[in-house]
């Protein structure tokens, strides 16, 4: 938006309170316009694709359990350190087995990094946003709760669990070919690397958009 200096008021305009009258005309006009209110509990908002809401651990349809491999990337990347993982290594194979997977949702800042770095799409942030509670315990999610969150979300939202699992969050600017296998799933066009430019590419596009705006 360009800032334009207002023309100076003439004496007549000052005496007749011209600017106050203008303001009053505006409010009077708004009096008869339709309110923009969304009556929340009655009219709920449909979250956008990729909305970062309630945490969930994806339930693997084959095993019926979480597909988490205890790589600890999520716990490491988490800026607010609200993911707690305990695991042990299976004797012989050395495979990691998750003992505990807790998320303290009240400390989460919903940056979505955990879902971004997960190599197996085990943790997702779902579109559910109504989970305020009267105590802290309710929003301390352990593994069972996180899996239940996923079940409830799939049931409520009607999303195809397989298509939703590859969350649209992938590390921005990373070539899809370098992602871990389970993450290389087809996503809508605007969520691909080409659709989500970062860095110099992004800036150049922005400046083109800006230039267009100025010309208009």
């Amino acid at each position: 938006m360009l800032i334009q200096p207002r023309p100076k008021r003439s004496l007549l305009e000052t005496v007749l309170l011209f600017e106050i009258l203008q303001g009053m005309a505006l409010t009077l006009k708004r009096l008869f316009s339709k309110p923009v209110t969304r009556q929340y509990p009655d009219e709920k908002r449909q979250p956008f694709l990729g909305f970062r809401g309630k945490h969930a651990l994806v339930r693997d349809p084959q095993t019926g359990e979480s597909s988490c491999v205890a790589c600890l990337r999520c716990a490491t990347v988490c800026p607010s350190q609200c993911i707690y993982i305990r695991y042990h290594e299976e004797e012989g194979s050395g495979r990691r087995v998750v003992d505990r997977y807790d998320i303290e949702a009240l400390r989460c800042i919903y940056c979505g990094y955990c879902a971004e770095v997960c190599p197996v799409n085990a943790i997702v942030l779902t579109e559910s946003y109504e989970y305020s509670a009267y105590d802290r315990q309710t929003n301390y999610f352990d593994r069972g709760r996180l899996l239940n969150n996923w079940d409830a979300f799939v049931k409520e939202s009607g999303h195809d669990p397989v298509a939703y699992v590859n969350p649209f969050w992938r590390p921005r600017g990373v070539d899809e070919a370098t992602l871990a296998g389970p993450r290389r799933r087809k996503v809508p066009e605007e969520w691909t690397r080409a659709g989500q430019p970062v860095g110099r590419l992004c800036r150049s596009q922005d400046s083109e958009v800006l230039a267009e705006g100025v010309q208009r």
């Binding site: 009053m24 409010t27 708004r30 008869f32 309110p35 923009v36 209110t37 009556q39």
Partner: protein, 318 residues
């Protein structure tokens, strides 16, 4: 006995009006800000004022530890009594007045100045910086605007030749334009601005400026005492709107007579002025304190004096 019944009816009607003035205000300002206002309690939120009243009545009455208790109790009562006493002298229609006294206008001035004692005492007694600042602001605001308010009505008194409110209306009906707002346009303008300041309404709501002083002089009041202040403020608005109607807009007379409802035009004009109050509140930001003072002393009082001089000349010549 009949007088007591009349009084009770008057108080009941006015309190109902006060309750629904808050509803009207919230609806008007809501829609002007492209919101909806109250919609939840009852159809269209119409029972909201009643719910608010019940809530305020049952709320805890908190009194600050170091408050001056006697004055703290007295302040809201002074405010409310002073505001309500005005109702006695207002003629709502021809002959429909509780106490027809020949100095009605002076009485209204006296009472509305008295109401500001309640405000100042509340600010003093609460022992809180916000209340104290609110009280001080109210004091100086009232001193500057009371003068302009009084002077703006002198023109009306000169034209009507009376201080009796009923007679002012009667004189207006016989005047050339039917209302004094046209010949006394300068007085009317000064009166409207001073009226806003006198009732502590936006854009001159400095004594209760919520963005600076929490709630100004009634910051420390809660529950029923808070609602007494609230009622006093709205009754004050109603009284000032009535004075504007009586002195400038022709009182109960209108373009045609409405059968069986002698106070129809009076009520309609009052609602119009109340709407104007809310309209201004939705439009204008609060004035800065020095702007308020310089507007009062440097613009309104000279204008009102000029109006008196011109009125006097015109009255002598014609």
């Amino acid at each position: 006995m009949a007088l007591v019944v009349h009084m009770l009816i008057l108080v009941g009607v006015v309190l109902l009006h006060v309750a629904y003035a808050t509803y009207f205000e919230r609806k008007v300002i809501g829609h002007m800000q492209v919101r909806m206002g109250p919609t939840r309690v009852g159809p269209l939120g119409l029972l909201q004022p009643i719910a608010d009243g019940i809530k305020l009545f049952f709320k805890e009455d908190v009194i600050p530890g170091c408050a001056d208790r006697t004055l703290f109790y007295a302040a809201p009562i002074i405010c409310l009594v002073a505001a309500m006493a005005n109702l006695a002298v207002l003629p709502f229609a021809s002959g429909l007045v509780l106490a027809k006294i020949n100095i009605g206008l002076l009485f209204v001035f006296a009472m509305s100045s008295l109401a500001s004692y309640g405000v100042v005492l509340a600010g003093w007694a609460s022992n809180s910086k916000f209340s104290f600042l609110g009280g001080l602001r109210s004091m100086s605001q009232v001193i500057s605007y009371e003068i302009a308010l009084g002077l703006s009505l002198v023109g009306v008194m000169m034209m009507a030749g009376s201080l009796d409110l009923s007679e002012i209306v009667a004189a207006q009906q016989q005047s050339r334009f039917g209302i004094y707002a046209i010949p006394q346009f300068l007085g009317f303008f000064v009166f409207v601005v001073a009226m806003l300041a006198e009732t502590n309404r936006a854009p001159f709501d400095l004594p209760e400026a919520e963005s600076e002083l929490v709630a100004g002089y009634f910051t420390e009041y809660s529950g029923i005492r808070f609602s007494l202040f609230f009622m006093a403020e709205y009754i004050g608005m109603l009284v000032m709107a009535s004075i504007a109607t009586i002195c400038f807009l022709g009182g109960w007379s209108g373009p045609f007579a409405v059968p069986h409802v002698p106070f129809f035009w009076f009520a309609a004009k009052i609602y119009g002025i109340m709407f104007f109050y809310f309209w201004l509140r939705a439009t204008l930001p609060r004035y800065r304190y020095d702007q308020l003072m310089s507007l009062g002393w440097k613009v309104l009082i000279p204008l009102a004096l000029l109006n008196i001089v011109v009125t006097g000349f015109v009255k002598t010549i014609f």
